[in-house]
């Protein structure tokens, strides 16, 4: 009975939705971009309170056992160290004193001699740990440092796991506070050599920080994780004179002690705590600053931060801080915004008492400053302390920076401070000691808005997702528009050929520009070998070479294209949008914070970009404003300009120096930050493509 005529095929709902979105791309883009930025600003409100996720941890369930006797011993060590310093004793004598102190506790002691590695750019070292064999070629034999390592074995443990305590100490130039940090760790370590409840070995690394805190810890970790079999000292002696027996000879008097030059090991590391004492002149209370960011925005498990925060606040009564962008706290616009949010929250609660999303303005400002700092540090991809070295080996680590209040320091009342800090460290170790597996229960991807509040990955993905959504929609819309334009004009084989050629041409251009970006990223390797001294000169050489390289590309490979009318820039823009989309999404996997910042800079620029010439010809008010907008966005999108603007906004414009950008970039590759790759291989090429569209002539 059915009619034989074929019914008109209706496309599937998802296709229809896609077509709808593409046809309203302008509205969708505007809404998505604005809501993305608003969502980003809402993050401090959406932050949740942290909670201890792992049952096994049980922080604070045991009473601290640290006694005043341990602290008295620690005080003696501090005094000894300060005396030695005032007598200007050589550093190896001081190291021996520390080693003897540790050995007197019944722990094993070892020395590790290492040579600091240079910060040379090596493109092959991204995302990979340098091979110890290749490192030896570049070491400077004249300067070396010696770490002292003490290991307390768990009396009934299986010896397969360890907890690491790190105290960076500069044996050549240390003040009272540095000595206090050694004393603080010593007091805990001396307790841990006596307790019966250890299930994991305790490693205490007194890192010789004369060549930098990070590098000493990294050197120790490198040796720890890559055991050399066979002749252990062969690698050392091949490059530098064999002074390995240095300590063995001098320590002949204490031969019965468990002190050796051999590299001592314990099991896999469950967690690491870096302990520092600094003077921040805290007026009222002892504070504890937490630093957690490791390379490429990696964070330790949130549980580690949670237990430290929980014990510090609820057991020891310390004031816990995380880093903040202080310049944001006083920013006018943020205060206004905070008041608006507070007001909206109050109104919402009046409408329905169940809605409790408003937070006080001061808390919002504080949360935003912390969140911004958290994002910034993650985006930079540079570790904020020696704990970063542990993250490279998937060990959760955090730096605890104690700063005693002025009062206790001035009166020389170290004991109270040592008891308080020591009990905190003991509590954290006891909690980690209870752990059965690696930290895995809580979040690894999060942003902190205060020591007790966090934004998890599921929430902070939303602003980014909203920001990048318009990119493919706009690209599709532009592509379909140009296709329609062409098909209207003429429909012969030539036009189809030309159409596909336009598309290919744009794709080729995008590819070539990205290739250029890759070459630009490799140029510093050559520049380092040129031996130019000042950062400004380096930067100049780098930009000159980049431009030269670009011109060469244009000449040889040619960015010539077939004449296909006005549509050409639109296709190029469409291809650029696709490239930006792919680049940002890839980057969000590697380092989310970088991608977030990149999206904030790139997405508006890429969406708005329009040829200057067309706007000039049209000459309306709309066109003019678009032109201004384009120029401003392209200026901000240029990495050095963005850097200078950001730096100026944070630190003030008076201190800006041209070479700063080079120094900054240098630090990025020195730390193997993926942000460097992002800037040169995604951001810069995309910016250049936008410039192409802007300056399009035909």
């Amino acid at each position: 009975m059915a009619a034989p005529e074929t019914p008109k095929l209706k496309p599937r709902p998802i296709v229809r939705l896609g077509i709808l979105l593409i046809s309203h791309n302008l509205v969708v883009s505007v809404i998505c971009c604005i809501s993305g930025i608003v969502a980003l600003l809402l993050l401090p409100i959406l932050a949740k309170n942290t909670y201890i996720s792992e049952n096994a941890l049980m922080p604070g369930s045991a009473n601290p056992m640290l006694s005043t006797q341990d602290v008295a011993d620690a005080n003696k060590l501090v005094k000894d160290l300060m005396d030695l310093k005032s007598e200007s004793t050589s550093s190896d004598k001081m190291q021996r004193v520390v080693a003897e102190y540790i050995s007197d506790l019944g722990a094993e002691v070892g020395y590790q001699k290492f040579y600091p590695q240079s910060d040379q750019f090596n493109p092959l070292h991204f995302f990979s740990l340098p091979d110890p064999g290749t490192l030896q070629e570049k070491v400077n034999c004249s300067s070396f440092a010696i770490n002292v390592i003490g290991i307390a074995r768990a009396p009934r443990g299986d010896g397969k796991e360890a907890i690491v305590l790190v105290t960076p100490y500069n044996f050549e130039d240390a003040d009272l506070l540095d000595a206090l940090s050694v004393g603080l760790t010593y007091s805990v370590f001396s307790l841990l050599t006596q307790v019966t409840w250890l299930a994991k070995d305790i490693i205490w690394l007194v890192a010789d920080s004369r060549c930098g805190e990070y590098s000493s810890v990294a050197a120790w970790l490198r040796d720890y994780q890559t055991p050399v079999f066979g002749s252990s000292s062969a690698a050392d002696s091949s490059t530098c004179d064999s002074s390995n027996t240095f300590y063995g000879l001098k320590d002949s008097s204490v031969i019965e002690r468990k002190i050796t030059d051999n590299f001592r090991r314990a099991g896999t590391m469950a967690a690491a705590l870096v302990i520092k004492v600094i003077d921040k002149s805290e007026p009222f209370e002892d504070t504890l600053s937490l630093y957690a960011e490791a390379s490429n925005g990696q964070m330790p498990n949130l549980d580690l931060i949670n237990i430290v925060n929980y014990l510090a606040v609820h057991r020891q009564g310390l004031h816990v801080k995380v880093q903040k962008l202080t310049s944001l706290i006083n920013a006018k616009w943020l205060t206004v915004l905070a008041q608006i949010f507070e007001y909206v929250g109050v109104i919402a609660r009046r409408l329905n008492p169940q809605w409790k999303f408003g937070i006080p303005a001061a808390e919002y400002v504080d949360g935003t400053a912390t969140l911004a700092s958290s994002l910034y540090n993650q985006a930079l991809g540079v570790p904020t302390g020696p704990h970063g070295a542990f993250r490279d080996y998937q060990v959760d680590a955090v730096t605890l920076e104690f700063s005693p209040k002025v009062y206790s320091m001035s009166k020389g009342r170290h004991k109270e401070f040592l008891v308080q800090g020591g009990r905190l460290i003991e509590g954290v170790i006891r909690s980690v000691n209870n752990l059965l597996e690696k930290f895995h229960q809580s979040f690894f991807l999060y942003l902190l808005t205060s020591p007790g509040r966090f934004v998890s990955v599921g929430v902070y993905m939303i602003p980014f997702a909203l920001l990048v959504t318009p990119l493919p929609i706009m690209a599709a819309s532009l592509y379909t528009k140009t296709n329609n334009l062409d098909s209207d004009a003429e429909t012969n084989d030539l036009s189809i050929y030309q159409k596909s050629f336009t598309w290919l041409n744009a794709a080729k251009k995008v590819l070539l520009v990205h290739l250029w970006g890759a070459i630009v990223s490799l140029l510093p390797y050559a520049i380092c070998h040129l031996g130019v001294s000042t950062p400004a000169m380096n930067l100049a050489v780098w930009s000159m070479l980049s431009v030269l390289c670009y011109l060469l590309f244009c000449l040889i490979l040619g960015v010539r294209s077939a004449k296909s009318g006005k549509a050409q820039w639109a296709v190029l823009k469409s291809a650029t949008l696709s490239a930006v989309f792919i680049g940002l999404c890839l980057m969000s996997v590697v380092n989310f914070a970088t991608a977030e910042f990149g999206a904030l800079l790139l997405v508006p620029m890429c969406l708005v970009i329009y040829p200057l010439k067309s706007d000039l010809h049209a000459g309306g008010l709309m066109n003019f404003s678009r032109m201004a907008c384009n120029l401003a966005l392209v200026l901000i999108g240029f990495p050095p300009a963005a850097f200078i603007l950001l730096k100026g906004a944070l630190d003030g414009f008076h201190s800006i120096y041209v070479g700063d950008f080079w120094i900054w970039v240098e630090s990025l590759w020195a730390w193997n930050s993926a942000t460097y790759l992002y800037i040169t291989m995604i951001h810069l090429p995309c910016w250049l493509l936008c410039l192409h569209v802007l300056l399009h002539t035909r």
């Binding site: 049952n55 096994a56 045991a62 019966t196 409840w197």
Partner: protein
């Protein structure tokens, strides 16, 4: 089923036996023919007590579960259940955990007065042996042949069994170790098998987990009494933290159960209902749940020692040596045939009767008759309910036995 007692009786060369056999077989036949399991259990008397104590969770932070179980172990031992009738299952060894500040000791109170892990602790299933499979095997008695007797629940039709379980539970399940779970219908199935195999007379299941009540929802077998620490949707909380050891050491429900039992000795007559009413929801922070619909007796009339203690029938005799010698020989026979519950039960009754028989054979029949009469009176006093029926039946048989033995000699 009926052939087993026959075989057994042939071991005794006495003329009285055919009569006894006949009567016993008849009662047995009646029991199986009626196919109502409850009636057979009603007719058998409570002769022995067993306890199965299970701690299902491992890891250091579950210290309290092991302490719970060991506390119960200590209590039932104190109240008279011997070690060979306790199956103790501990999923982890807290005493020797490296994190334990007091090596080889387990405490259930922060005052550390009582070391639960003293000298006489017999752990039957430990560590990774504590699995759902092994647990069900213990209950149903389906063991591999190599499993020693000490690891088997050799209960019979006259057994009162206490089954105590603690660990982490949820809606209709109990977690074993960190990987398995026992579901409510698994438990119900095992109990049903036990009932049908005549492995218990009465069973008290006591569970201290979150949502413990849900674990009983599938039970159907008569003679089962269940106590749970919490209702559906409720958590069971720990009682207190020992800040010296650094863990919670006991759960609330178990803590108050123990508090109840600490006041008792094995001769006390405190009833189950007094135990149940001792749970205070405001102290437990959860509502204790009792399932009594499958249990035939009145709670007020059942002493807690029926489950937490052990029956101790002492039969006074003027000739202890002969008596004990005789008993020893019969015991040896019991051990030869393994865990046939019914056999065990019959044998028990028989050995008692046989002993008395021999007593009457010897010089002073009158004395033994008086003693017997006294013991019968005692029995009548003790078992007022349906057990009295059984006893009257047995008493009726005694003169018959005496007469027949006279005749044979």
């Amino acid at each position: 089923m009926t052939t087993a007692p026959l075989k057994l009786f042939s071991a005794f060369n006495s003329m009285a036996i055919p009569l006894l056999v006949l009567s016993l077989c008849l009662s047995n036949l009646c029991g199986s023919a009626s196919a109502s399991v409850s009636s057979s259990s009603e007719t058998t008397m409570h002769t022995n007590n067993w306890a199965v104590l299970v701690c299902t969770s491992r890891f250091w932070f579950n210290y309290r579960h092991m302490a719970n179980t060991l506390s119960l172990y200590r209590t039932v031992k104190r109240l008279g259940i011997p070690d060979e009738r306790i199956i103790l299952m501990l999923a982890d060894d807290m005493a020797c955990n490296a994190r334990n500040k007091y090596p080889a000791q387990v405490f259930n109170n922060e005052n550390h007065r009582l070391n639960l892990y003293g000298d006489n602790v017999e752990v039957d299933y430990r560590g990774y042996e504590v699995t759902v499979e092994n647990f069900l095997r213990v209950l149903t008695g389906r063991h591999e042949t190599a499993v020693p007797r000490s690891k088997r629940l050799l209960s019979d039709e006259g057994s009162h069994i206490l089954l105590y379980m603690t660990g982490h539970g949820g809606d209709e399940f109990l977690k074993f170790q960190d990987s398995e779970e026992l579901q409510s219908h698994d438990l119900a199935d095992a109990v049903k098998q036990m009932k049908e195999k005549g492995r218990f007379k009465e069973l008290l299941i006591m569970v201290d987990t979150c949502q413990a009540a849900t674990l009983f929802s599938q039970l159907h077998s008569p003679g089962v009494l269940a106590i749970g620490s919490s209702l559906k949707g409720e958590n069971s909380y720990s009682h207190h933290l020992d800040s010296d050891v650094g863990v919670s050491v006991v759960d609330r429900f178990t803590f108050y159960t123990l508090a109840f039992f600490e006041r008792l000795n094995m001769y006390d007559n405190a009833s189950l209902s007094s135990l149940f009413s001792s749970y205070n929801p405001s102290l437990l922070l959860s509502t204790a749940y009792y399932r009594t619909d499958l249990y035939p007796r009145q709670m007020e009339q059942v002493p807690v020692t029926n489950f937490f203690g052990s029956v101790m029938e002492t039969i006074h005799t003027d000739h202890p040596y002969r008596y004990s010698k005789r008993k020893g020989s019969s015991k040896g026979k019991i051990e030869m045939s393994l865990d046939q519950a019914v056999q065990d039960e019959k044998r028990r009754i028989l050995s008692n009767l046989g002993d008395q028989n021999i007593d009457s054979d010897t010089k002073c029949p009158m004395g033994s008759m008086i003693h017997m009469w006294n013991s019968i009176l005692d029995e009548i006093e003790k078992f007022e309910d349906r057990d009295t029926l059984v006893y009257y039946g047995l008493v009726m048989m005694l003169p018959l036995l005496a007469v027949s033995s006279w005749l044979s000699s």
